[in-house]
Symmetry: C2
Subunit: 205 residues, 2 copies
DNA sequence: AGCTTTCGCTACGACCCGTAGCGTAATGCC
DNA sequence: GGCATTACGCTACGGGTCGTAGCGAAAGCT
C-alpha cells in the first residue's frame, strides 16, 4: 500500500484521516448527486479538505470513485454454510446487498464505462474490486471440490477458463438484475439462480 | 413513433436527415472521444447542425446516447438454427459482436449508470434497448417449448420469473465478460456458456 | 398571401476543471 | 534547536462546457 513511501520520507506525512474523510465524502456525494453531478470541489468541501489536497492524491474523478467504491466490497467474504448451494447463495446475497446501495449503483457502472477507454483505470478496477470477487469464486470452487460436490479439474488452463466463466455468469447476472432490469436480487431470485447455476455445473441438483 | 405529430402539424417539419446525421455523429464521437469527453457542441458540429437544433430534440446527453446506441441493436434477430443450443449460440454471438464495438461499450454502460438515478431514462433504455433483447429470449424459449427441448410452463407468473432469470443470466454474463473482465466473448466462450446454461435449464445436455 | 414551426447563428451567465502561487504546519535529520 | 523537505489550506486564474435567449430566414400548411 505504501509503495510510494519507501520507508519514511522526509517532510510532513500525508494525513491518513484526510484519506478516509475524502473517500467517505465521495460516497456521500455519490448517494446525493450521482456520478455525473459529482464534482471534486464539492467532495473536497464535504471532507473539510482543500481541493488541491484531493488532486495531490488522485489523478481525477475516475480514480477517486474507484477507491471509494472499492471499500464497499471489503465486507465480502466466503461463509461456510456446509454445502456449495448454500455457499453460493450466501455470497451472492452479500454481493447483491452491496450492489443495492445507491453509491455502488451509480459509481461502479460509471467507472466501468470509463474503463473501456482507459487501460490504467481498468487495471485499477481489476486490482481493487474484481480480483477480490474472483478469489471468492475460486475459493468456493476449491472447497466444493474438496467436498466432492464439484469434479476435480486436472488441466489448469481448463480450470482457469471454467473459473472465468462462473465468475462472469454470477457477477454478470446479479449486476444485470440489479442495474439493468432494476429488480431486487432477493432471496427468491438468488435461490432460483443458484439452482440453475448448480445444475449447469454438475448436471445434478 | 410520431405520437408528437398527431397527423401533420402546421409549420416547417423537422428534418429527418438531421436526426440520422446527429445519431451517426454521436456514435462517431463515442468512438473517438468516449462518453465523458463527448460534448453536445462537438456532436452538433460533426453532424453539420446547430447546437440549438440538438437541444430541441433531445433533453440532454443521456437521451441522445440512448437513441444512438439503440440503433446498434436493430440488427439483432433470432435465427432458426434447428436446435435450442444453436439458437442460443447464434443470438449470443450477435449480442457479443454488438457489445464489442467501442461505441456500444463506452455508451451503453454509461447511460445505464446514469439511469440508476433517473427513472425516465431507465424507462427509455428499457423501451428502446432492453425490451428488444427480452423478446428474443421469450421467442427462443417458446420455440424450444414447441420443439420439446424445454418443458412447458403452465403458470404464467412462474414463466415470467424464469424468463427474467434467463435474460439476466445471458445478457449479464456477456456484458460482464466483455466490459468487466475485458475478454472477448468468442465462439469458444459462447459454446461453454451455452452448455452450462442449457444444462442448468434442462438437466440434460 | 398569412400562419406556424424549424433552423442556423451569435451571445450570454453559470459552472466546473485543473493548476499555480503563496504562506503555514508537521515531520526527519544534523 | 535549526534546517530541509514535504503536506496543507487558501485564493485566483484561464479554459472549456453547459443550457438558454434572441434574432432573421427558410419551409411547410391552408
Amino acid at each position: 500500500m505504501q509503495s510510494r513511501t519507501p520507508a519514511s520520507r522526509p517532510g510532513r506525512p500525508r494525513s491518513a484521516a484526510a484519506d478516509t474523510a475524502i473517500l467517505a465524502a465521495t460516497r456521500e456525494a455519490l448517494v446525493e448527486l450521482g456520478w455525473s453531478k459529482l464534482t471534486l470541489g464539492d467532495v473536497a468541501t464535504r471532507a473539510g479538505v482543500a481541493k488541491t489536497t484531493l488532486y495531490r492524491r488522485w489523478a481525477g474523478k475516475n480514480e477517486l470513485v474507484v477507491d471509494a467504491v472499492a471499500e464497499l466490497f471489503d465486507e465480502l467474504e466466503l461463509p461456510d454454510r456446509g454445502s456449495l448451494a448454500a455457499d453460493i447463495e450466501g455470497v451472492v446475497l452479500q454481493f447483491a446487498a452491496i450492489l443495492a446501495r445507491p453509491e455502488a449503483k451509480s459509481g461502479l457502472m460509471a467507472v466501468v464505462a470509463e474503463s473501456t477507454r482507459d487501460d490504467a483505470l481498468r487495471e485499477r478496477i481489476r486490482a481493487s474490486i474484481v480480483d477480490r470477487q474472483m478469489r471468492l469464486v475460486l475459493a468456493g470452487r476449491a472447497r466444493a471440490q474438496r467436498r466432492g460436490e464439484l469434479p476435480p479439474e486436472p488441466d489448469p488452463a481448463e480450470a482457469a477458463r471454467t473459473g472465468d466463466l462462473i465468475f462472469d455468469v454470477v457477477a454478470g447476472a446479479v449486476v444485470h438484475r440489479t442495474l439493468v432490469s432494476g429488480k431486487p436480487a432477493d432471496e427468491d431470485w438468488v435461490r432460483s439462480f443458484t439452482r440453475v447455476l448448480l445444475l449447469g455445473l454438475t448436471g445434478t441438483s
